[in-house]
């Protein structure tokens, strides 16, 4: 293992993480809910009366974040190397399995670990593990 010091951004990442933590804290303290993106988005697919608008507004806030950012500064670099077919496969897998596993990086990784939920700790270890293995296979065995 070699640490890539040229791309490592400890302070920006820590500050961004604190902002994400503030968002998660606000949501549980004010709305009484877990800020889990896959759950909030997925819940829109089986709309229940009185349960739609807050979800749509949360998602709208996330989607509009780059627009708000642009009012202050140019957007940071974004590099998407995956091909279109790979993005479709990856998207389908992420959509099905985050719903099946009841959460993703936000719900399990941030909120779940924050409240020391054993299920979320196991879930986070599981998706980190398979994420590491997948990237290892793709980059070092298949050589994509």
């Amino acid at each position: 293992m070699t640490i890539d010091l040229s791309s490592f951004t400890p302070w920006a990442s820590l500050s961004g993480g604190v902002l994400i933590g503030i968002a998660a804290a606000m949501f549980i303290l004010l709305n009484g809910r877990i800020a889990g993106i896959s759950g909030i988005l997925g819940g829109l697919l089986t709309p229940q009366k009185g349960d739609i608008l807050w979800r749509a507004l949360f998602i709208a806030g996330m989607v509009l974040a780059p627009t708000a950012w642009l009012l202050m500064a140019p957007l940071p670099d974004m590099q998407i190397d995956a091909s279109y077919p790979l993005l479709i496969v990856a998207g389908l897998i992420v959509g099905i399995s985050t719903r099946y596993g009841s959460g993703c990086t936000s719900g399990h990784g941030v909120c779940g670990i924050s409240r020391l939920s054993p299920r979320s700790i196991v879930a986070t270890l599981a998706f980190m593990f398979s994420g590491f293995v997948t990237v290892y296979i793709i980059r070092h065995l298949v050589g994509m």
């Binding site: 400890p10 604190v18 503030i22 608008l53 998602i59 708000a68 399995s97 941030v110 939920s117």
Partner: protein, 144 residues
């Protein structure tokens, strides 16, 4: 407008800006974290650390309470068992995450930049979530 809807939007916005600040809206940076055998970028661990440090304060505060500060019922996941769905779903999510470097939150933020590849990923992810709902519906029908 109801203040809960305002806070849902603001929470989503802060969450999205946090993802931009942290660098996690960039799939290339996420993949550099997952590539432990290559030039490793530990930034994602700092994002999680910052978010969990703040989140933990809020979740400790609400422990034992039944309502949020605004009087909303606290909706915390009650499940305790480490079942097959949690583990298989999370392992699956990690595979999809490792294939493209997108998890649901960053994908929505990238979608908001208008990047065509992010739009395709989000469309596939929402389709995946819809497929999950269809499978669940037929499964519960079969059980009943």
């Amino acid at each position: 407008m109801n203040k809960h809807f305002v806070s849902a939007f603001v929470t989503g916005l802060i969450f999205g800006i946090g993802l931009l600040v942290s660098g996690m809206a960039n799939p290339d940076k996420v993949l550099s974290f997952l590539d432990i055998a290559g030039a490793w970028d530990p930034s994602l661990a700092f994002v999680m650390g910052g978010a969990i440090a703040v989140g933990a304060i809020a979740f400790t505060f609400v422990k034992g309470r039944t309502h949020s500060l605004w009087g909303e019922p606290l909706r915390l996941p009650g499940k305790k068992d480490l079942d097959k769905r949690l583990i298989m779903g999370s392992l699956g999510f990690g595979i999809g995450w490792g294939l493209a470097g997108f998890c649901p939150g960053p994908a929505l933020v990238a979608f908001g930049t208008g990047a065509p590849k992010a739009i395709v990923f989000v469309a596939a992810m929402v389709a995946g979530m819809a497929i999950y709902e269809v499978i669940e519906k037929s499964r519960t029908k079969a059980v009943n």
